[in-house]
Amino acid sequence: MASVILSARGLTRHFGGLRAVDGVDFDLQTGDIHALIGPNGAGKTTFVGLLSGRIPAQSGTIALAGEDITRLPAHARVKKGIAYTFQITSVYPRLSVFDNVALAVQQTATRDLASDVAAALSRVNLADRATQTAGTLSYGHQRLLELGMGLALRPRVLILDEPTQGLASGEIANFKQLVRSLAPETTVLLIEHNMDVVMDLATRITVLAAGRHLATGTPSEIRANPAVQDAYLGGHDASA
């Protein structure tokens, strides 16, 4: 039985009357690639926002490797090893690719900034673009850059919010290969709408619906779960 690196108990966040996340229990096993799926509005982005600290929790607890981090601000959680990439690409568009990654690398105990940045860039195949202004990169390359920044933090848990959104199919293949190479050193939690990517990459899947936890299991378990089919994979038509 693998150990749990990140866990949530009774995690809750309401926005006015909307129960975006409503008492969710969740365990992330060390070394997994764990996909978080659910229909639009299920509360996926809010949920990872609570885990990363971008959104404060109203009730419930979050623990990283057994340590309670519920009240820690986002930047302190990053320091403890939770990296987060945004749903909408967020880099420093007016800075060079080198500076973008250097801002992540200099947060770690680095002796040689330049060579560590070069290593981080070659991991996402951007080594030859170090001097380019980040905003002039193609969309796919900007997503890779943001992933490279997340990896450069050497996180224990990497949270990816819809990483393949807007990528071409060739880019998605490269991305899958890259994420697969991260495990088991880095535990990955990804929100993803592309079911091919989910079924291909994930070792475990959690389904959220209307802010509540619906199911957790292996891809084949999730595919066979009638409640999931009902809520998400096409309802009664799919099970027919």
Binding site: S52, R54, H75, V78, Y84, F86, Y92, L103, Q106
Partner: protein
């Protein structure tokens, strides 16, 4: 390498100018150099970190009075008073930042403006101590460096202070902290999710900015022998912003270029008319229309992309 060469060359040119210009212009230049230190401080907060403050007069005045009060009432010698002014600027900026940095954008402008106005009114309220609008007369600049004439002492101190400010700001913006300041300006949310405590970084930037502003205020009071509440008026918050905008926000030499350009613009216009602010206004409108990034910002964009 060429970056350090350029800045050291600039300092060498300034040294030659100070030594060879006739006294009237040398004194002007000394004044420009001290005010440029103020602009360098403002640029750290506004140009690099993106903190648009309307309260820097408070930090400048903290330097002015941080130096002037101990001299007047405690008999502190001039050079320690300069250090006291520098520290006063940093301290006041730190306290202001602790409260004002809970806001951002327009609210931050308004809150810093209110702090500066409160500081000005406080100086007036304690008029019997501070001299209020009439101010305090301080010993001649010659007292700073005994044995030298007032003109030479003034030029020497102004030059030494400016050199220290220019080189330390250059080292700062090229350091990891400098990169972090720019990151806050460019994308604060992303910076937080890279593990930066953005509040602490902005507070650091404001304190550094306050140290430069305080040093400039203290030097200005000591070199020109006067401390007054007028240094805390809104004018002294707007001026460094104009200098930095004209020279180029987020460039190391921009504050010097902007301060000098604005100073001579007012000086030359003043020989024709009393409506010098009209010329300043027209210059700024032209700048915003044709070179919104300021003189050096435009040069960096078009030609010298390596300029820090």
């Amino acid at each position: 390498m060429r970056i350090w060469t350029l800045h050291l060359f600039t300092l060498a040119v300034l040294a030659v100018l100070l030594a060879t210009l006739p006294p009237y212009h040398a004194t002007n230049l000394a004044r420009i150099l001290v005010l440029a230190v103020f602009a360098i401080g403002y640029n750290l907060a506004f140009g690099y970190t993106g903190l648009l403050s309307l309260g820097h007069a408070l930090f400048f005045a903290a330097g002015v009075y941080g130096a002037a009060l101990p001299i007047t009432y405690l008999g502190l010698p001039q050079l320690p008073a300069l250090v006291a002014g520098l520290l006063a600027g940093g301290l006041v900026a730190g306290v202001t930042g602790l409260l004002a940095l809970r806001t951002a954008g327009v609210s931050f402008m308004i809150v810093t403006l209110m702090f500066a106005q409160a500081g000005y009114l406080t100086l007036l309220y304690f008029g019997p101590v501070t001299g209020g609008d009439e101010g305090l007369v301080l010993p001649d600049a010659a007292a700073l460096l005994p044995g030298l004439s007032a003109d030479v002492a003034r030029a020497t101190i102004a030059y030494a202070l400016f050199s220290a400010a220019l080189l330390s700001s250059l080292a700062l913006v090229q350091s990891r902290l400098g990169r972090t300041l720019v990151a806050i300006r460019e994308n604060e949310d992303r910076s937080r999710m890279l593990g930066y405590n953005t509040f602490a970084v902005k507070l650091t930037a404001l304190v550094l900015s306050g140290l430069f502003s305080g040093a400039a205020g203290a030097a200005y009071a000591l070199l020109f022998g006067y401390a007054g509440a007028s240094f805390a008026t809104i004018q002294y918050s707007i001026l460094p912003m104009l200098w930095v905008l004209m020279g180029g926000a987020g460039t190391v030499l921009g504050p010097l270029v902007g301060t000098a350009a604005m100073f001579y613009l007012v000086d030359i216009a003043g020989s024709y008319t009393t409506a010098t602010l009209l010329f300043v206004g027209v210059a700024l409108v032209l700048l915003i229309l044709f070179a919104p990034k300021g003189i050096l910002g435009t040069i960096r964009e078009r030609w010298l992309t390596w300029l820090p």
